[in-house]
């Protein structure tokens, strides 16, 4: 009996994907909970320092905050720092001193669409502490979201969420800087690799050479086995771009610069959406036939299966989106929590132990960075392959 390699590989990848989901699932849930509770903790005032109040103190309100011991305050600060890191940011801040209010970093431009383009520096928000005034409009930065307010900067909140108008925020945020940086880096690396091929008669040279095996890996191990020798060519550009884009952004997230781009739902959503659109628009008749009129099953079943299959096409990219987002986010939360432990322990044994743990986890995160890029590309290729599958039912059913 011949066992084909493709399904085995798929199962292997699926197991790995599930493994990372399981092993990191709990921290994600925890962080979400903490954050949501923290969000709930904010009452209708504009006291922004309150927005990281610990869940246990949420009910007590702000009065309790004043009664906190210095240790608890520190704890809060760390939690706030982690939560803040996970969000996109309108400033590029490397470090900040809470006591003196000093921030080390630089401001980024804010671009809003509010009755025309409104462009100003994020300096006006002063890290979310002030109400920004521009062209007679007042804006407030709350949880890295910009709301339109009046001169007092008051936010009307309902269930912990402000109900103020949110103008379309096209700001060059920290994540946009990260994306642009990675895009430029990729363009530089791969165009130089392409040039070196031409210059050296088909043999690469220079920095890009490191990535040549990865390019070949994407072609030989991801695209060709999943899509097929004939049709893989038209998907290669997308698969290669997405693989290196996700990989570079994952790795960028591990640098101390504090980027969290692939751990942002908007980024993974856009990537998954592109995969979905490409799958949908390049699918052949056979693929649609499978969705709306599954061959080889009784007619009533066909009617039941059609909506399920149709839903499946949306769930697939949705799982892509959540998988990448959750893995990277969870990695960041766990890593930062363990780093925070170093400071929390305040003893040389505990701190050094958590340093070792953080170090080991960083290595694991590098693996996860590669793995998630691989899985995203692999599953995209798998979906493209399914959309391009040729008719071959007569010998199966």
């Amino acid at each position: 009996m011949v066992i084909s390699r493709t399904p085995l590989r798929f199962i292997f990848v699926a197991i790995i994907a599930c493994f990372s989901l399981i092993s990191f699932a709990n921290p994600v849930v925890d962080s979400t909970k903490v954050h949501t509770e923290a969000t709930h903790a904010v009452s209708d005032s504009l006291k922004r320092t309150a927005h990281t109040t610990e869940a246990t103190h949420a009910e007590a309100g702000h009065e309790a905050e004043a009664n906190l011991t210095p240790e608890e305050k520190e704890k809060q600060q760390r939690k706030e720092f982690i939560n803040h890191h996970l969000l996109d940011s309108h400033d590029f801040v490397f470090n900040a001193n809470k006591e003196t209010g000093e921030h080390y970093g630089f401001h980024l431009p804010v671009i809003l669409w509010d009755n025309g383009l409104q462009i100003f520096s994020s300096e006006k928000f002063h890290y979310g502490e002030k109400v920004a005034e521009h062209n007679g409009n007042f804006y407030v930065l709350h949880h890295e979201k910009i709301y339109k307010t009046d001169a007092s900067g008051k936010l009307n909140e309902e269930h912990g969420h402000p109900t103020n108008v949110k103008p379309l925020d096209l700001s060059i945020t920290k994540s946009v800087i990260g994306i642009l940086g990675v895009a430029l880096l990729m363009f530089f690396i791969f165009s130089s690799l392409a040039k070196s091929f031409a210059k050296n008669g088909g043999i690469s040279k220079g920095v890009g050479r490191i990535f040549e095996p990865l390019v070949l890996f994407v072609r030989d191990e991801i695209a060709i086995p999943n899509i097929g020798e004939k049709k893989h060519k038209k998907y290669m550009s997308y698969l290669l771009t997405i693989f290196f884009f996700v990989l570079f952004l994952n790795l960028l997230g591990l640098t101390p610069l504090g980027f969290n781009v692939t751990g942002n739902i908007a980024i993974t959503a856009s990537l998954a959406l592109l995969t979905y659109l490409i799958t949908t628009f390049t699918a052949n008749k056979n693929y649609w036939g499978h969705i709306f009129w599954m061959p080889g099953v009784p007619t009533p079943m066909k009617i039941i299966l059609a909506p399920i299959e149709l839903l499946g096409t949306i769930i697939k990219p949705f799982s892509l989106m959540i998988r990448l987002y959750a893995n990277i986010l969870a990695g960041h939360v766990v890593l930062m929590s363990i780093i925070a432990l170093m400071f929390a322990f305040k003893s040389w044994i505990g701190s050094s132990l958590s340093f070792g743990l953080a170090f080991a986890l960083s290595l694991l995160e590098i693996l996860v960075a590669f793995l998630q890029a691989y899985i995203f590309t692999m599953l995209s290729a798998l979906y493209f392959g399914a959309a391009n599958e040729e008719h071959h039912h007569d010998d199966h059913h």
Binding site: D169, L170, T173, G202, A266, S270, L274
Partner: protein, 166 residues
Amino acid sequence: MEKLINDFSFGLFIWQVVIFVGLIFLLKKFAWKPILDAVNTREEGIKNALLSAENAKKEMENLQASNERILQEARMERDALLKDAREIKEKMIADAKEEANVQGARMIEQAKASIESEKNAAMAELKSQVSSLSLEIAEKLLKDELSNKEAQMKLVEKMLGDVKLN
């Protein structure tokens, strides 16, 4: 879920889509196409080189095989020739022997015949000589004998006696 929706930044989404799609097309033009083309041509080249090497090897093997075959054939031919030659030699010898035998036999026969005829001739000669001699002797004897009557008579008597005896 609420957090996911709340975290979703539409502006970032737009930026990401614009930059990413732009990146795909830029890289497609300036990187992926040239890289994949170069890799493909290189692989094609390697494949062709390997194929031609394989072909050359096969040709070489064929050549060697045919050389071997030719050599084998030559050897067989040589053996056949040698065998033929040996056979011819043996046949010739045999023929020669037979010829010689026949010839010898004939010569012997001839010799025997000539000897016989010579002998016969000699015998005939001898006989004629002997008869002539005996006639001469007889003549002389008779002349001597018959010179006197007595002797003649005695002879006649003797002869008659011989005849009687016979």
